[in-house]
């Protein structure tokens, strides 16, 4: 097989990759936002987010195809399921662990357990094969040499509307309170903000976003029981590349990630996407100015 395509990529290919980069980048931006909302506020390495993602897709396609509900209603139910699941995990697992003094590593491991048990349960119920959301085929648009579909437009619009919504909410009472909690939990509690409530709020919002991402994904592609792993990994990478606790830049980092992955298609075959992202993470960890450059500047 050939790993590397011909060097002189045609302008139309590049243009097409830019357009897919925008779509993919918007999707990753949404993932980054979703992970960041939870991580920056609660500091929980919420790996079970992958299960929430999968659950949203399967609840939506289950209610649509098995119960035969209208697709829009099914999607709403899927999103509600995501929020309920995310909040339940926080309330039942994380909160009680925090109370009993569990370390962040301990909470991560519990989260990991959920992310294993959940998708396997889905596999037992629905089987291992891919399942599609019965939404029909999208319209194909062609502008010049570039093609895209209705779902591409929907992905971009929905992603940025949701991201914009979350960022706008940062100015609200809830938003300010969660910024306060993420900056200093104890002090916020002292001035009358309940970190418990803020955590639930963060999990609700983060779950809504990841559920939306799952639905957007299943518009285009089949849902599988372990579909959640990769998007959540990418969400975390975006969050960490943006700088932990920096909610505003997480979607931006996600967008850049998607763009780079898409454009790497000029040189690399698709199977190397994850490798490209890993490389980015690796390099960023090495060269990222964390104190080092600041010290040198003095």
């Amino acid at each position: 097989m050939h790993l590397i395509s011909a060097a002189g990529a045609s302008p139309s290919l590049v243009l097409q990759l830019v357009v897919s980069g925008v779509v993919l980048g918007s999707f990753y931006a949404l993932l980054g936002m979703s992970v960041s909302v939870i991580y920056s506020t609660t500091k929980v390495f919420h790996f079970a987010h992958a299960f929430v993602y999968t659950a949203a897709a399967y609840v939506a396609l289950g209610t649509a195809s098995v119960l035969g509900l209208p697709i829009v209603l099914a999607i709403v139910i899927g999103l509600i399921a995501a929020v309920v699941l995310g909040v339940t995990i926080e309330l039942v697992v994380y909160r009680s662990m925090r109370r009993s003094g569990a370390s962040s590593l301990g909470i991560f491991l519990a989260s990991l357990g959920i992310s294993i048990a959940g998708p396997n349960l889905i596999q037992i119920i629905f089987g291992p094969d891919g399942r599609n959301l019965p939404v029909g085929n999208p319209t194909l648009y062609t502008v010049g040499t570039v093609t895209f579909t209705t779902w591409d437009i929907v992905t971009v619009v929905v992603s940025w509307v949701l991201i914009g919504g979350v960022l706008a909410m940062r100015r609200s009472r809830w938003g300010l309170a969660s910024i306060a909690v993420s900056a200093n939990r104890e002090l916020s509690a002292a001035v009358g903000i309940s970190p418990q409530k803020i955590y639930v709020y963060a999990f609700a919002v983060g779950s809504l976003l990841i559920g939306s991402a799952a639905i957007l994904f299943t518009l285009n592609q089949a849902a599988t029981p372990n579909m959640g792993l990769q998007p959540v990994l990418f969400g975390f990478i975006a969050t960490f590349l943006a700088g932990v606790g920096n909610q505003k830049t997480a979607p931006l980092a996600g967008f850049v990630l998607g763009m780079v992955v898409s454009l790497s298609g000029i040189w690399l075959s698709q199977t190397f996407q994850t490798a490209v992202i890993f490389g980015l993470l690796f390099v960023a960890l090495i060269v990222r100015p964390q104190g080092i450059f600041r010290k040198a500047a003095v």
Partner: protein, 601 residues
């Protein structure tokens, strides 16, 4: 027979993988999601090395025409597999392990695991793609090829036992103690003068090497290396085994590997095709429940038959030197201080040991410390006093470079230590304690103190392996010194008690003993008596004045005026980050303006 041997082999592979991972997760407190990737790298490496050169009809030739197999004999290939796994692991871990946040490592290893599985599946020309690299020659043992499970089980059994002994000994060695220290309190390990990045990178490599060995055996047993045997699920299964069994306890790992390993054949019989999904549900839920209700696992860290043996042996080993009775009266003999290189004789003219000049630090718009200049005189106790928020602890942090100052210079014994790391500063003779103790809670008092003893060559895992007798001897000496330090603070009777089980006051004493053990001449004590009950405060005061008598230079942050008056030769008065005055506490407290600042107008 062969069926059971096969199950035993599968369980032992899981055991080896989990034992190796326990070194990371259990002892070091770092989670790797890529243990299966290193397992796989070992498998593929042995495959590529042992497969015969250019076998006809086998699609392993690369496009460049290089033959896939190297035709090596089995055991040299195993050795290389171990090394390759270890080297790859160390290389990818360095950037992640140099961060304090464990999440970086999780993320990095997770990404690495996914990439590796993907490459195993897609680099068809090297790896054979999804169906795997095959046929890999079977393992050989004394010239014989082993194919039947009943034969292989012996070799794998030996390897498992060796792995167990290796991991157990490494974990319980001085190196293991450093790893546990990193797990408990990474900053405290640095504060006693030890680097933490190198031990982490080494243990990461060692763990991957052991996984590589398991992988090499695996590939030779099944005669195939395929991506699905080394994917994320396998990594997570290994994590589950470690957690269920109990962290930092190889016995627990063995028990849990047997339990989870037996799930396979049981589930195969019960649910057939869906066995793997059910297994995922079961160990996933088990992980959640264990973390929620029994985070110490089935066999907790300080339990199990082997621990018991070790304890008993230890109890009669380092006999407490002198009066091992009560802790109350101690002979303040100056030369009893262990590890103090050349305790300075008292008498000569005051000598400046530490010079702090123009130290400044702002956080945002707030000047926490501004232009602080003072020095410490040899053999004296200098107290930093001032109201809450005056910048006393921040100043400690700046002097030891725990926080990087905006400006300022620190000179220790005439040489500049500005910008040196906290561990390097400790090695040069200035160590600090922390307001909140920062002890290694799940270690015994004596291990806490032993960690701080400098120049422990036995902490080097290489020496550990090649010179076990030397290490044993050296370790005995280290424990003896640690015991002496505990004796100085009157805590030797509790040497084997876990720090978490000690009272707060006793913990503070252990912290002081740990500080003494560093052998540093300059000791920075951050509120040594805060939270200690009044009866014990007297004891702490005695200990500190004994240290002065032993020639140590001490700087302490203290709130109690009474204590400062009794102990300190000199006080530096700080307010809002500035040094307002210096002198004896009496002189300072005689000044109305300072008194008002201190007690509030």
């Amino acid at each position: 027979m062969e069926y059971y041997a096969d199950i035993a082999i599968q369980i032992m592979f899981l055991m080896m993988l989990a034992l190796s991972l326990n070194l990371l997760v259990g002892y070091t407190g770092e989670t790797s999601m890529a243990q299966a990737a290193f397992y796989g790298i070992g498998a593929y490496t042995v495959g590529l090395l042992t497969m015969p050169v250019a076998v006809a009809g086998l699609e392993i030739a690369t496009s460049s025409g290089v033959a896939g197999g190297a035709g090596w004999p089995f055991w040299p290939a195993v050795l290389i597999s171990i090394l390759v796994s270890a080297a790859v692991a160390s290389a990818i871990s360095i950037p992640a392990l140099s961060r304090v946040r464990g999440e970086f490592l999780i993320l990095m290893t997770l990404a690495f695991q996914l990439v590796t599985t993907q490459l195993m599946g897609s680099l068809t020309s090297i790896t054979g793609g999804t169906f795997g690299l095959t046929p890999i020659p079977p393992m050989t043992f004394f010239g014989q090829s082993l194919i039947k499970p009943s034969q292989v089980v012996i070799v794998v059994g030996i390897a498992t036992v060796l792995t167990f002994v290796f991991c157990y000994r490494l974990g319980e060695s001085p190196f293991g103690r450093v790893l546990k220290g990193i797990r408990e309190q990474e900053t405290a390990v640095r504060a006693v003068g030890k680097g933490t990045v190198l031990p982490k990178v080494i243990v990461f490599g060692v763990a991957a090497g052991v996984a590589g060995l398991a992988g090499a055996l695996n590939a030779s047993y099944y005669q195939v290396a395929a991506p699905q045997s080394f994917n994320l699920d396998v990594s997570i299964l290994a994590i589950a085994v470690v957690i269920l069994g109990g962290v930092a306890n190889p016995v627990g790992t063995v028990v849990a590997a047997i339990l989870l390993g037996l799930l396979n054949p049981v589930l195969d019989a019960l649910v057939g095709a869906e066995a793997s999904a059910w297994r995922g549900v079961i160990y996933g839920l088990a992980l959640v429940l264990v973390m929620r209700y029994r985070p110490q696992g089935l066999v907790p860290e300080h339990q199990g038959p082997l621990r018991f043996l070790r304890r008993r042996r230890r109890r009669n080993a380092p006999a407490v030197a002198a009066a091992a009775t009560t802790r109350a009266p101690r002979d303040g003999a100056p030369d009893a201080t262990p590890g103090a290189p050349g305790a300075v004789p008292s008498g000569p003219a005051p000598e400046v040991v530490l010079k702090v000049e123009g130290m400044s630090k702002s956080f945002g718009g707030i000047k926490a410390v501004s232009d602080a200049t003072f020095d410490l005189t040899r053999g004296q106790i200098t107290a930093l006093v001032g109201p809450n928020g005056a910048g006393k602890t921040t100043l400690f942090n700046l002097i030891t470079n725990a926080i990087t100052p905006d400006q300022g210079a620190v000179t220790l014994n005439g040489t500049s230590i500005t910008g040196l790391s906290i561990s390097e500063i400790a090695r040069r003779g200035m160590a600090r304690s922390f307001q909140d103790g920062r002890l290694f809670e799940r270690l015994s008092a004596i291990d806490n103190v032993a960690m701080a003893i400098p120049d422990q060559r036995a902490e080097n895992p290489f020496i550990l392996t090649v010179r076990p007798l030397y290490v044993k001897k050296r370790e005995r000496a280290v424990r003896q010194s640690a015991l002496e330090c505990l004796q100085l603070v009157g805590m030797h009777a509790d040497a084997e008690t876990l720090v978490a089980d000690l009272s707060y006051g006793d913990q503070k004493l252990v912290a002081i003993a740990r500080l003494i053990a560093t052998g540093a001449d300059v000791l920075l004590l951050d509120e040594p008596t805060s939270g200690v009950d009044p009866s014990a405060v007297e004891h702490v005061i005695d200990v500190i004045s004994d240290l002065r008598a032993a020639g140590k230079t001490i700087c302490l942050v203290e709130h109690s005026v009474h204590m400062v008056e009794r102990l300190a030769d000199r006080a530096v008065f700080l307010d809002q980050g500035r040094v307002l005055a210096m002198g004896s506490m009496k002189e300072l407290m005689a000044r109305q303006d300072l008194k008002e600042i201190y007690f509030g107008a």
